[in-house]
Symmetry: C2
Subunit: 409 residues, 2 copies
């Protein structure tokens, strides 16, 4: 049996996500122990070739289901909950098909059934709809909930590639499965929209009630005209109230640039929830990938382990760092005479500040020099700035504003 | 005393947010009862002129603190938790100043202290950092956490207005207080960043450790050059690990267009959390306003009332609607001869489809006609499309793709 200071997790499935979860759990075990007071550990792993479900269940306080598919996943989840175990799953097919049965079983047995990783990977859309927006009257929900198709459409727009070429590239980079049928025909997104609609509107929605259309027929010409018209083409899931009813659907759609989903690119997912009281909330992030999905699963596991919202005591005492690295925009009002740019560049160079772009505008006897620098230590930049401010051709206090570069996407 | 089927809430403060919360609670009481099994009701309201704290505390199961400021808010929150009551607060100053004392008291008394509304209004950043990302090793967090300044900067960029004019306009529209000092000098954002940094990095952070710089000195010229350089200017809060330490700061910064915060405009707030395992998650939404903040408070109240993650039974049986309203992009390959556009426009007009924009390109004997329509019933559009497909000058299957318009922002 388990010791009181250990929390035993039964892991069903050891594919990409299962292996990433086991690794992440070990890596973050001490941190989880700090938060929850108990150390999580894997009590047993069930794969096709090894492990016995009944035995693992017996030794676990919580079961993580990462097998996928309908059976035996459904049977295992039901048996685990009937035995009083919390369950965390990433299985969208299971929930889109047997959700009501499973949620009813969770209520009946007084256990938690958490499934953040089933929709939009690490984007916390399930928790936000179920908890933050529990009281909201949701009017509409838009989602980019399939990373494969969003990657393909982004590449078609960016490079002018055909659908086939962009798909081949997505497969090469691991953004698309060997058999991408259910991604590109919209069925995968339809299952996810069924789950989101059920939660947001508290009405039964099964996956076969979701109409869907994929991106197979999209051509480079469509993309070219979209560009002419200033639009972005995405595979959009929509769930909305219409005249006392509900529409849930998935189809390609053009978005105006102001739409919160228009800028979501590459394999990212995003969901926008609209409600009169809140206007709208948008969440975005990576939609899939082993480590990302594992991270969503671990967030659910921790929530099942601890009473909610107890802010843990601090765990570290990080020293405050005052000198950081920044790029800068620098604006100088200068006399319009030869050598000015060279002098400024010289000062910057001596302080190891390199320049990324320059705009210069003449204004009668004066000129305005605007530069953007590459990132450098702020202390070094300000030393240079002080020196520049003392140059005789500088007519006014130099203006400096930091520039933040995109680092991940 | 309270009946077992009622949940008694003591409300401290009845200003804009307090009044909006009381109204929202009444409006959503039946829904909350469906979710939680008990009906929430206001057991008492404390204002400057009426109500007695001890009496309200006695009659409440949970206390909502919306007085603001440090005292007596701190005293009331501590007394409520010592008496075993959960507390929900929207008080950023209180948490940025006395957070450790209050969180320790919550842990000591085994009660929940929830504060989603204290940072970024209805954007669920507190819940996501504390729960979804509980196990994540956060590397960096960027936030637009002051709606007033984001509104001002958006207007300056959009209209070329001066800081003073944009501020006056923000005040007129209710996006800025009569005394906007702590918004425009960055201090309000600094308090919020102290709270976020504490939670994300599990290290003590007090508001006086946050360096900040506001937007008072930003000029229309800065905006004009930003445009030339393709950058967006925002007031950005940053908290990041640097060489084993932590930097927390607020300052104006230019963002490249690809940055997830670059497109956040008007009074919206947004936060991006970066972590190696998840890459990044971005959340955005309205940062303030009575109904929005009240909605965040109610989400916290419900979470305190119920065991977590029990998906409630469905509450409605909404009929599925199949015919919805959409705008469409329509592409036609046609013979390049006079009268083609008029014939197509005639068919659309008879089906009450109105056209928003048209692009036409000649291709030898053929031409390509691309139109975007205003929203109309899809059945009507498809009837028109069928008719258009049968016109003798149409050379190929017409292409139709839906267009989604931005409706809220």
């Amino acid at each position: 049996m388990t010791s009181p200071s250990r929390y035993a997790i039964g892991l069903l499935g050891h594919g990409t996500v299962g292996a990433a979860f086991a690794e992440l759990l070990e890596e973050r075990a001490a941190h989880v122990e700090h938060i929850t007071g108990v150390r999580p550990e894997i009590a047993g792993v069930l794969t096709r070739s090894r492990g016995d479900f009944a035995d693992i269940l017996e030794r676990s306080q919580l079961v993580v289901e990462l097998i996928g598919g309908l059976e035996p996943a459904r049977e295992y989840v039901l048996r685990a909950m009937a035995a009083g175990r919390h369950v965390v799953t990433a299985n969208k097919q299971l929930l889109a098909t047997h959700g009501e049965e499973l949620w009813a079983a969770a209520r009946e047995h007084g256990v938690q059934l958490r499934f953040e990783a089933a929709v939009a990977g690490v984007v916390p859309v399930i928790r936000v709809i179920q908890e933050s927006l529990a009281a909201a009257h949701v009017e509409r929900l838009h989602g980019i909930v399939n990373g494969t198709t969003n990657y393909i459409l982004t590449e078609m727009a960016r490079t002018g590639a055909s659908f086939e070429d962009a798909l081949a590239q997505a497969q090469e980079l691991g953004y698309a499965e060997a058999d991408p049928t259910e991604d590109v025909n919209g069925k995968d997104a339809a299952a996810k929209m069924a789950i989101l609609a059920r939660l947001a509107f508290s009405t039964p929605v099964s996956v076969d009630q979701v109409t869907y259309e994929g991106i197979v027929g999209i051509t480079p010409d469509d993309m070219a005209y979209a560009r002419d018209l200033g639009l972005e083409l995405k595979l959009i899931g929509t769930a909305e109230r219409i005249d006392g009813g509900l529409s849930v659907r998935v189809h390609p759609a053009f978005l105006y640039p102001g739409h919160p989903l228009a800028a979501v690119s590459g394999p990212f997912n995003a969901v926008t929830v609209e409600s009169p009281a809140i206007t709208e909330i948008t969440m975005s992030g990576p939609g899939a990938g082993g480590p990302q999905t594992a991270s969503a699963v671990l967030g659910d596991v921790i929530s099942a382990m601890i009473p909610p919202a107890s802010t843990p005591a601090t765990e570290e005492r990080l020293p405050m760092v005052s000198d950081v690295v920044s790029g800068f925009y620098l604006r100088l009002e200068v006399a319009d005479r030869p050598g000015v740019l060279a002098s400024v560049a010289d000062v910057l160079g001596r302080h190891e500040i390199s320049v990324k772009s320059v705009v210069q505008r003449g204004l009668g006897d004066n000129a305005r020099l605007v530069m953007v620098s590459h990132p450098a230590l702020e202390s070094r930049f300000y030393d240079a700035l002080g020196e520049i401010g003392r140059l005789d051709f500088v007519r006014d206090e130099p203006r400096a504003i930091r520039v933040i570069e995109e680092e991940f996407v």
